[in-house]
Each structure stands twice: as C-alpha cells, then as structure tokens.
C-alpha cells in the first residue's frame, strides 16, 4: 500500500531534518501504531503520506505508483486516504456538522440520496446525531475530533490515518473509538494511528513503528513480537 524509500524531510534548511532517511512498507489491512517522543516526526510522516508535504529526498510509492505532485496523483491520494489532524479543529470549515460530513462525498460526485444516507449512517455510528445541525466551531474539542473523524469516514477511504485521536476524548468515547477502529480494520481498511498511550495501542494495532528523538525509525515490529524491555521503553513515551 505505502512504500517509502530513504525519505527525509526538512522544514527549515538551517535546521536538522525532521525525518531522517525513513524506510517503511505498509501492506493493505495493516493496523500500524506510530510511537515516539514529542517532535520525533510522526505528524510530519503523516503529512508526507497524505501528499501535503513533499519530501526533499527519497521516493514514495502509493499502491505501487510513484507519488508526484500532479493533480491526478494528488486526487487519487486524497480519495484513498482519510486523515484526522492532531489539531482537528482546523479541519472543519462548513456551516453545520451535517454539511461538514456531506462535503467529502459530494465532492466525490455521489448522488444526493447516497450522500444523505452516508451522513446519517456515520452520525449514528459515532453517536453524534444530536450535533447534526450545530456549528462545528462551537463544539467542544472532543466533539470536534469526532466530527473530523466523521467527515473522513463519509468518504469511505481505504486508508485511515489518525494523529493522536484519543486526545481529549472521554473514557467512554475512547472505548468506542477503539471498537470502531477494530471493526474498520476487520472490514479491510488500513489504519495508521499515532499515539503516546501504549495501553491503547496494545489493544488495537498489530504492528508498531517507533521513532527516536533524532527523527530516525528505530523499531518496526509486530506487537506480539515485542520483547519485555522494548515494551517497557514504549510505556515511557
């Protein structure tokens, strides 16, 4: 699905790279957890995967095709990958939650009946029917996170990327999110999650990828193959 070869990214030419020489392959149906200290480059990697940032060196293949900046390629990337930002409040730009969820499928050219169906399904799925007519900016942080996730789900992407999705969610919603992500993965979606909470990750993912403070990829292993000292390290993050 994703194949990264020697990817490096530098925000500022005067500073050290924020991602250093990353090699990573992700196959369809994977459930990958990304871990690492603050500032290690998790969000940067996600922005590269979604085509928002272009790496200065290295090659990036998505579904066996080389990713470039043509409209066609970007369009393909954006329709196949859904991305929930770390600060998901910036992700909402419509007048009501309903319109927010409908924006994506409308852009994909779905008929209005199908769009309506998808929006109501997702509202029910996330348990946020009551918010449908609210203004997205006036919602609480956790509610905004759910709406951002909903706006991605209605597009039915093959890959779902979530940058620290558990932040700001109540315990009840955290459990709910865990169950939802498991079901989505069972239905064949590839899922990438960045998180600092090993407990949650251990319940969810089948593979963990770890960055260190020097922005290098230092560990990439199935979760059940983690050794005890490695696991102890991850709990510290």
């Amino acid at each position: 699905m994703f194949k990264l070869e020697n990817i490096s990214y530098t925000y500022d030419a005067t500073q050290a790279p924020s991602l250093a020489d990353i090699n990573l392959t992700i196959t369809p149906g994977d459930f990958v957890a990304l871990m690492g200290p603050n500032g290690s480059g998790k969000s940067t990697l996600f922005k590269i995967l979604t085509g928002l940032l272009k790496p200065q060196t290295g090659t990036y293949y998505f579904e066996e095709k080389l990713v470039d900046s043509t409209d066609r390629c970007q369009n393909h990337l954006h329709q196949r990958i859904g991305f929930v930002f770390q600060n998901s409040d910036v992700q909402l730009f419509n007048d009501t939650v309903f319109e927010e969820l409908a924006f994506g499928p409308k852009q994909q050219g779905l008929a209005s009946g199908a769009v309506h169906q998808r929006v109501t399904d997702v509202l029910t799925l996330l348990g946020i029917e009551a918010l449908a007519q609210r203004v997205p900016y006036q919602l609480s942080g956790g509610e905004q996170k759910l709406v951002a996730l909903g706006s991605v789900l209605t597009m039915n992407p093959a890959v779902i990327i979530l940058d620290e999705p558990y932040n700001g969610l109540s315990m009840a919603y955290q459990t709910k999110l865990t169950q939802l992500l498991q079901s989505l993965n069972a239905a064949g979606k590839t899922i990438l999650v960045a998180s600092h909470n090993f407990q949650q990750i251990a319940e969810l993912a089948n593979r963990v990828v770890v960055f260190n403070a020097q922005h290098q990829l230092v560990l990439d292993t199935p979760l059940n193959a983690l050794t005890a000292p490695q696991e102890a390290d991850l709990r510290q993050l």
Binding site: Y11, D12, A13, T14, K47, T50, L52, D71, R72, Q74, N75, H76, H78, Q79, R80, G82, F83, F85, N87, V90, Q91, L92, F93, N94, D95, F103, G104, K106, Q107, Q108, G109, A114, Q117, R118, D121, V122, L125, Y137, S151, V152, L153, M155, N156, P157, A158, T175, K176, T178, Q179, L180, Q182, S183, L184, A186, A187, G188, E203
Partner: protein, 271 residues
Amino acid sequence: MSASVELPNWLQQNQPVTNPSAKKHGYNPLNKNLGWLQHLLTQLNAPQNIHQTQQQPWLQVVNLAIMILLFSLAQKPLLIWLLALVWLVRLYRLSALQLYQFAKRLGHMSVFSILFILPSCFLNSWSLGLWLLFKTVLILGQVALFLQEITWVDFIKALRQLHVPPLFVLALSITIKYCHILATYLVQVLWAIELRRATTVPTPFYQTAKIMGRLYLTSKRYVLAVYEAMTLRGYQGQTTKVEHLALSKHDWRILGLDLSLIMMYCLVWRY
C-alpha cells in the same frame, strides 16, 4: 477483545476512485482560489536563505541608511561607479541560491519602481528618467541586499539597539509574529479543504464564496485567541527589553568603510 461495531454496508466496501481525466470540467473557482492562496502562504512561510554576516544588526541598518543616502545624493558618475563597486564586492559573498533570491527580489522591486518612474520619463526628458531609474535600481539593490542579510529577529533587535520607541518596535514585532502564526494556521485549514475536495466535480460559486468567508471568520477567531493568550501572559503593550549598542572588530571595519565612502563623496563633490 472488545465488542465490534456494526458498520454500514457502504463502509465495508471498496470505494472506487473518481478519476480527474474521466470527466473534463472547465473553470473551478474553488480550486483556483485555494491554489492561489496556498501558493501565497507557502511562499510566506518558506524559510529564507539568509546570508549570515558578522555585523551587529544595528550597524546593518545604519550601513543601509548611509548607502541609500550616498546613492541618492551622488550626482557624479565616478562616485556612483565607486559605490556600485563596493556594492558588487558585497554581493560576491552570497551563495548561488542567495544570489538567485536576491536577483528575484530586486527584479520584483524594480518592476514596481518603473511604474512610478515612467511618468517622469514622459513628462520630462528620457535621459533624466533613465538616470533616475538607474539610481533607483541601485538603491533598491541596497535594500534587496539588506533583506538578504538580515532576519526579522535581527531587524527588531537593531531597532531596539537604535532606541526606536519601544511601542513601535513591539507593534512591529507582534505584527510579524501574528502574520507568521496566521499563515501557518491558514495553511492547515487549506490542507483540510484540499484533502476532501476533488478535482473532478466543480464546486458551485456560492460554495466557494462561503468557504472563503469561513476562512476569514476562523482566522479572525484564531487571531483573537492568540491575543487572549498574550493578554493572559501579561502582555500590556510595553517592553522592558533594552538592547545596547555593541561594536566588534568586524563592525569597526564596516564603520571605517562607511566613513571613507562619505569622505570620498565630499571630495568628489568638491572637485
């Protein structure tokens, strides 16, 4: 294992990708406008390749002022030639990329200045107009070089060192930071839109206008939030930060050069 969630049917199927080349649509105002805005913002946010000098920031400002003054007062070709020579020597130290940025900046500034100078060419004589243009480009070259050699942080420091009224310095420094923060924020909002918009379906014009309006409202809200955060941390519009004039060995050399240029100006002017 926790209980699984019942997913709707469509969410369990694979979504076919609508291909941009499958349907050809004409003008798409949303894509056009957002693309333009995004380009502008990334330009604003792009790190500048600044040439590091060993000079004190305040001296860079003084140096610029002296050079501009000399260039604008100089009437004799000999003097202008000498000044231009000094300027070219300073250019020589820039790297290839910095030179390119410098040339681009100078080009943009010159085009604007031509707009102002052309009328004088038509009204007065061409030779006078061209002379004026020549001198203007040289002066703009000084400014472009200055911008290539100083960061905003240093420029603010220079103003403090030169005892410019603190309120003015503070206002300027906050404006710059604001613009930067706002641009970073707007880029993220635009990313969010880009991720969910398709290039296949044209967005109706009213929707484009609505999104643009929303963008304005969110940025306003965001700026207010930044202001609140600053107030909470005790920002009251005054600053206690004092920067002192400092001079290094390198600075004395620059000062010496400036003084000799001024002396030369006086000499050439008299004969």
